[in-house]
């Protein structure tokens, strides 16, 4: 692993420079230089026709700041469910998830949504861009959610300039006003990556980001992901089936039958 700059998500400062300082929520007791994400004993089951179907069986996982981790496992091993629990989209039945020292599932819905907006960036396999919005607007969406109306309007030109720079950096300077339907798969994923990084999150969760792309385009997108991860010093959790992709991460975590092995 090459030496890289590590960064912390400082709730008092806010995740991104364009965002106002964030009010501490539950008050984390953990030191800022400890692991960014601490997962302990996470369990999750689904009810299927009245029967309990366990998917996560006591998962323990630490993600250090600035670390890139690949999550490998066969289908049905529980990777996606774990990703959703860590991304604060799915509540676990047991266990704790602490992000930067804060117990995420003890937060209110609003506080959790705010944390997700500022501290976590998602990259999905199917891009998940809003079809009615242009590439630039899609990138600006996390900032629109983070800012109030007045604050957004005050910083509008600055934000648009930041989003334009970001898309230009990803080679999409000629695609700013294009809708997702007018973009190729690789371009869409680069827009999705720019959107995930716009609020400067501490943690990026990528769910098979190249699974829907051809090998050349996939490699280019992957290159961008790792480059940004190194440049920004963010923590990356990447779900993949591809051993070669996993090999590019600093650490590999295997899952089997709902457990980290």
């Amino acid at each position: 692993m090459s030496p890289m700059e590590t960064r912390t998500f400082d709730p008092a400062r806010g995740g991104a420079k364009h965002l106002p300082a964030q009010r501490p929520t539950t008050g984390g007791g953990q030191a800022p230089n400890g692991p960014l994400l601490v997962v302990r004993g996470v369990e999750k089951h689904f009810l299927l026709a009245g029967a309990k179907l366990p998917v996560l069986r006591g998962v323990d996982l630490d993600l250090e700041r600035g670390e890139s981790v690949a999550l490998l496992g066969s289908s049905g091993a529980g990777k996606s469910t774990l990703l959703h629990v860590l991304g604060l989209l799915e509540r676990p039945n047991a266990g704790s998830v602490r992000l930067d020292g804060r117990e995420c599932w003890a937060l209110s819905i609003q506080e959790r949504a705010r944390l997700r907006n500022r501290a976590i960036g998602f990259v999905f396999q199917f891009y998940h861009l809003l079809p009615e919005l242009t590439a630039l607007e899609n990138v600006l969406l996390p900032a629109m959610i983070a800012h109030g109306r007045l604050s957004y309007l005050r910083n509008r030109s600055n934000l648009r300039s930041l989003a334009t720079q970001s898309l230009t950096r990803f080679g999409l300077d000629r695609r700013l006003t294009h809708r997702p339907a007018q973009l190729s798969g690789g371009e869409r994923q680069r827009v999705a990556l720019a959107r995930a990084l716009f609020n400067d999150p501490a943690l990026m969760i990528a769910d098979e980001p190249t699974g829907n792309l051809d090998s050349t385009t996939g490699a280019a997108v992957l290159e961008l992901i790792f480059e940004e991860q190194r440049r920004r010093g963010l923590t990356l959790l990447l779900v993949t089936h591809d051993e070669s992709v996993a090999a590019r991460c600093a650490r590999t975590v295997h899952m089997h039958d709902g457990r980290v092995v």
Binding site: H84, R114, R116, H128, L130, E132, M144
Partner: protein
């Protein structure tokens, strides 16, 4: 920020939203137009049914006792004095109302004996005899001027004075042109209606008082101006306490047309002094007609004040209880007389408004359907928004705002169309009638020859507010469902 931005973008992106907006616009526009037209009808009808009816009508209970203990005076002088003393009163005149009989054929009513013994009494017709004051003392104050005018052949018209018959509804009936399909015959001079017709000038015999007959009665009995008409009536005999029948011959001075069937078919006008004489002189008046400066402004207050003043002066009956004064029993407004008809039109207006509000409800349901479809269609977007950090409240607000835009655009356009449509309803009706080849508004049926429409800001604001409320309520359900959507289910939705 994203709520406004996304809601507006979603609104523009889906043409189906236009259906909802058009629905609200049509509902709001139609409601405003119909209500304005109904209000116009109400106002026009008020004007029409009122005719020249006086603002206030004082009807003393003449058989009752006054506060002083004596009977209510049979003479109108005290009451007229009290009424005219009020600065809000412009004019007041006494009127005597009684009932009489006349035989079919019109020229000869039965004699007392005939009325009581006629086995074919069904041939007799009832008539309402109304005695009004036309000439006043002031008129007699210009005999020289009138004489000179007549000599020179100039038209002479004495100035209108307080107790002139301007307060009665006869003048309007005389001014109105006869119905083209009836055989009405207007009086020679509406300002001196009881003057004997010129055709009677050469006829020898006793001078007879004149009567003016309702146009329908005039036509039905094939009367002619200058004919004699014998009327019979029943009067109480103050000496014996029994009723007796009195009959007298009158000269027909002409006909009047009030426009009301009942009045034109039954009413006969004559001078109040003549009618009082016909009745034996025991009764001089039944009611006093009062005309005010500004009825809408102080009609009701004047009603209460006059009843109090008249009671205190002993001109009307009073039970002596302070709390019963001004209750409106013996001093009534013209609206009290036409309460049933006006109430019916008002009821119709309210019912129409309620029924038409259903259109607004239908438009609201359209918004509900469109937004429900949109929420189903945008499930993935909702999941993405949640993943990007939008709280459920923000997602709810986003979809609620779409409803708000629908309401804002629909209600604004609808209000504009409704108000403009109401203001130009006549031109629209004429154009539509021309296009369809059907007469939509039959002007022969009504007293007015245009579709009346009165746009009032209050109801317009109420309709627009109602449209907002209904639309937002209908948008709230799908918006709430969107907010409750599990983001993961939404994200997996492909």
């Amino acid at each position: 920020m994203y709520r406004t931005f996304l809601s507006w973008r979603y609104l523009r992106a889906r043409l189906t939203n236009l259906i909802g907006i058009v629905g609200i616009a049509v509902a709001v526009g139609a409601l405003i137009m119909i209500l304005s037209i109904m209000t116009g009808f109400l106002e026009e009808t008020k004007r029409t049914v009122r005719g020249n009816l006086a603002d206030l009508i004082v009807s003393p209970a003449q058989d009752a006792q006054t506060s002083a203990g004596g009977p209510v005076p049979r003479d109108p002088r005290i009451a007229l004095e009290v009424i005219r003393a009020d600065p809000r009163v412009v004019a007041a005149s006494a009127r005597l109302v009684w009932y009489g009989l006349l035989a079919q054929g019109g020229q000869r009513a039965g004699t007392s004996r005939d009325v009581l013994t006629d086995t074919e009494a069904g041939r007799m017709m009832g008539a309402q005899l109304v005695g009004v004051d036309v000439l006043s003392f002031e008129r007699f104050g210009y005999p020289l001027l009138e004489g000179v005018s007549r000599l020179m052949g100039w038209p002479f018209r004495a100035p209108l004075v307080q107790d002139d018959f301007d307060t009665t509804d006869l003048l309007l009936g005389l001014d109105r042109d006869p119905h083209p399909k009836r055989l009405g015959s207007p009086v020679e001079d509406p300002w001196n209606p009881f003057a004997p017709p010129r055709t009677r000038a050469d006829i020898p015999g006793p001078k007879r008082a004149s009567v003016i007959v309702g146009e329908q009665l005039f036509s039905a009995l094939r009367m002619r101006r200058g004919d004699e008409l014998e009327l019979a009536t029943v009067v109480p005999d103050p000496l014996t306490g029994r009723v007796s029948i009195s009959n007298r011959k009158f000269v027909i001075a002409g006909s009047f047309r009030s426009g009301e069937n009942a009045m034109d078919l039954e009413r006969i006008y004559l001078e109040r002094t003549e009618l009082a004489d016909f009745l034996g002189g025991g009764l001089a008046f039944s009611e006093i007609l009062v005309k005010t400066q500004d009825y809408d402004r102080h009609g009701r207050a004047l009603q209460v004040d006059l009843e109090r003043k008249l009671a205190e002066r002993g001109a009307i009956w009073w039970n002596g209880r302070e709390e019963d004064l001004g209750a409106g029993g013996q001093v009534r407004t013209w609206e009290d007389f036409r309460r049933t008809l006006l109430g019916a039109i008002e009821n119709e207006r309210v019912l129409m408004a309620i029924m038409l509000s259903l259109i607004l409800l239908v438009a609201g349901f359209t918004i509900f359907a469109i937004l429900t479809m949109m929420v189903a269609e945008k499930r993935r977007d909702i999941g993405i928004l949640a993943a990007l950090g939008a709280p459920p409240g923000g997602i709810l607000a986003t979809f609620l705002l779409i409803g708000l835009w629908d309401a804002l655009l629909g209600a604004s356009v609808g209000a504009l169309l409704g108000v403009q449509g109401a203001l130009h309803i006549d031109r629209i009706e004429q154009w539509l009638s021309g296009v369809l080849g059907v007469q939509i508004f039959n002007r022969d049926v009504y007293f007015f020859d245009r579709i009346p429409a009165v746009v009032e800001p209050g109801p317009v604001a109420l309709i627009v507010g109602g449209a907002f409320a209904i639309t937002l309520c209908c948008a709230a359900v799908p918006a709430w469902r969107a907010a409750r959507l599990d983001p993961l289910v939404a994200l997996r939705y492909e």
